[in-house]
Subunit: 141 residues, 2 copies
DNA sequence: TTTTTATACTACCATTTCAGTCAGGATTGA
DNA sequence: TCAATCCTGACTGAAATGGTAGTATAAAAA
C-alpha cells in the first residue's frame, strides 16, 4: 500500500510546472535539475503526464512543457492515476472476472467501498492546494 | 497502491474464524480448505495475526485458532497493518529522516494528510461489518 | 511416558514489479 | 539546414511478493 516513486515524482513535476512554467514552456532539464531527478527518468515520467492530458509538450527550440489546465482543476487522483494506472486496492474492484465469486463476496465489497472513499478523497485535493502551501513557504523566507 | 494478498488473505482468515470458531478452535487445515489457500501459506499468514494479538492459537490435540477479541473490536486497519506493517503511502510519513527537506515539503504534507484520512477510514470498518454482509448472504440462500 | 495431533518458525526459491538507463528517432524554430 | 528539444522501445539490476519445505516445539491422549 504505497504510492510509487512514479506517483510521487509526477506530483513534484506538476508542482514544478505550476510554479515555473507560467509564461513560457519549461525545459525538461530545468525540471530535472530543480527536482533532482535524472533527465532520462523525467522524460519517461512526463510522457505519461502528457499522454493523459495533464501537460502540453512543445518540441524543438523554445520547446518544453506547460500545464494543460489550471492547477485547481488537477486533482491528486488524476495525477496518481496518470502515473500508476487506476487505483484498485484489489484487482476485483475493476476487473469483475478476477474472482469468480466477487458478486457475492463480503471481502470484495469492503475493499470496493474503501477504494471508493480513497478515490473520493484524492479527488478533493488539487494541485492548487499544494501551491498555497508552497507560497507560504516562500513568504516565510 | 495495492493491498497485497497477505492483507486480503488475512481478512479472509479472520472472517473465517469469526464464522466458524465460536465454540472451539478452528484447525488450520479447515481454514485452508474452506478459504482455498494452501495450508503452508496459511501458517505463515496466521502467525502474524497471532503475533499482533488478533488471534489466539492452541497447540496439540484440540488445538487451532480463535479470534482474540470480538469482531466489532477488530478494525480493517489493524488487520492490514498486522499483515503488511504500518500503512505509509510514502516513506517520509513514518520516517522523518527519509527525506531531508520533509519538514518543509508541500508534497510530503499532502501525502501525510491523505495517509491519515485513509487510516481513519480503515479504522472505522470492523470485522463485524463484514459479518453482517455474510449473514445476509446466508439468509438469501 | 510415549504417541499423536497440532502449531511455530526459519530458510529458501521463483516470479513479478519497480526504478532507472541507453540509444537513437522524430519534430520544430531559427 | 541544423541545432534544440521532446519521444519511445528495449533493456537491466535490485527489491518485493507469493509461495514451499522441513524441522522444532508444545499439548493432549493413550
Amino acid at each position: 500500500m504505497k504510492i510509487s516513486t512514479k506517483g510521487r515524482y509526477g506530483l513534484r513535476i506538476l508542482l514544478d510546472l505550476a510554479l515555473y512554467a507560467k509564461e513560457e514552456p519549461r525545459l525538461m532539464k530545468d525540471i530535472a535539475s530543480s527536482q533532482e531527478i535524472s533527465e532520462k527518468y523525467i522524460s519517461r515520467l512526463i510522457l505519461k503526464l502528457n499522454q493523459t492530458g495533464l501537460v502540453d509538450s512543445f518540441r524543438g527550440a523554445k520547446g518544453g512543457f506547460m500545464l494543460a489546465k489550471p492547477p485547481k482543476e488537477i486533482s491528486l487522483l488524476e495525477i496518481v492515476e496518470a502515473m500508476e494506472g487506476n487505483i484498485a486496492l484489489v484487482d476485483c474492484v475493476f476487473d469483475k472476472d478476477f474472482c469468480p465469486k466477487s458478486e457475492n463476496c463480503s471481502a470484495c465489497k469492503v475493499w470496493a467501498s474503501l477504494n471508493k472513499k480513497i478515490r473520493k478523497q484524492m479527488k478533493e485535493i488539487s494541485l492548487k492546494d499544494l501551491l498555497k502551501s508552497e507560497k507560504n513557504k516562500i513568504n516565510r523566507l
